[in-house]
Symmetry: C2
Subunit: 160 residues, 2 copies
DNA sequence: CAAGATTGAAACTTCAATCTTT
DNA sequence: AAAGATTGAAGTTTCAATCTTG
């Protein structure tokens, strides 16, 4: 807890309140995330018919050796649940963007294999997405701000 | 999994790959948001049976004069859709945390009125939530980092 | 029994009617 | 016709079986 300047106070009306700085940082973070993901997801959906989850999966496949990965590896790598990966993969397979094949050494396993059409769409969607992130996020940061964000959230990535 | 191969960049072709700083800032932001909301929502659900959306609504009611607000005001204030507010309000009414009554001057309108039980639960849940944000977010930031985050995301709040 | 994957049921959210009132 | 609110249908995600294989 904070020592002297307790940023959180239970007011007379029973409401929790933060200092302006704390509110800007926390609520602003939530709002920014909402705005960014909505805009990026909308762009992706409109131009390529993909959700962010789909692109995350496709991107992992495109970067993988042989452009294929086990379902469980995808789940662990993305932080998505196993059932969700299974369902997204089923949808993408229905669109011909990937094919599911069994794993030779372990008959329980299933590997998702990116098709040529899938790779093509993935590249296009990644270009759209990267441009969007640049425009909506990076372009609005000063070099100093960017460095601080990387410092704060970089530890987040190292954790995984 | 291919080291830190990032699913959001174009990848092996060498096109548009982000620097480590950019990747830390953007992907770390997404990961941090996911981790924080999951932890906070889980805590809130386990201890009070509330979602973040529910608490946001209840919090607005607790802060409002007479502890009541119109459905449409709640929607506008929280950024949630009207139908979502309507459904969340129905659930909360079913639990006896609020009551819906008509608006005197405008028979189309409905106001959500916090009950005593609702106020009590709201205060408890807000204390839990605030403590969680403090512990999981603020406590991990230096004053300088906090100031920068407020600077970056504060403009986000001013926009609304 | 444990692990990999899939599926059904349920929760949450949004979109598009729908209904009532202004 | 426009605004406030609700509801039905559909999409997304999670949880809890379920099935198969090790």
């Amino acid at each position: 807890m904070a020592g002297d300047a307790c940023p959180y106070v239970i007011g007379d009306d029973g409401l929790g309140r933060w200092s302006p700085v704390h509110a800007d940082a926390w609520i602003g973070l939530l709002d920014a995330h909402k705005r960014l993901t909505r805009a990026l997801e909308g762009e992706l959906e409109a131009r390529h018919g993909l959700t962010l989850s789909s692109l995350e999966l496709l991107g992992r496949l495109a970067a993988a050796p042989h452009r294929e990965r086990r379902i469980s590896d995808l789940a662990a790598g993305t932080g998505l649940s196993l059932s969700r990966v299974s369902r997204v993969a089923a949808t993408l397979e229905g669109r011909g963007l990937l094919v599911r094949r069994s794993v030779a050494e372990d008959s329980r396993g299933v590997r998702a294999c990116l098709t040529d059409a899938g790779l093509q769409l993935t590249r296009a969607a990644q270009a759209t997405h990267a441009a969007g992130v640049q425009r909506l996020f990076f372009d609005r940061l000063t070099p100093t701000q960017l460095a601080t964000l990387a410092e704060v959230f970089g530890t987040e990535r190292a954790r995984r």
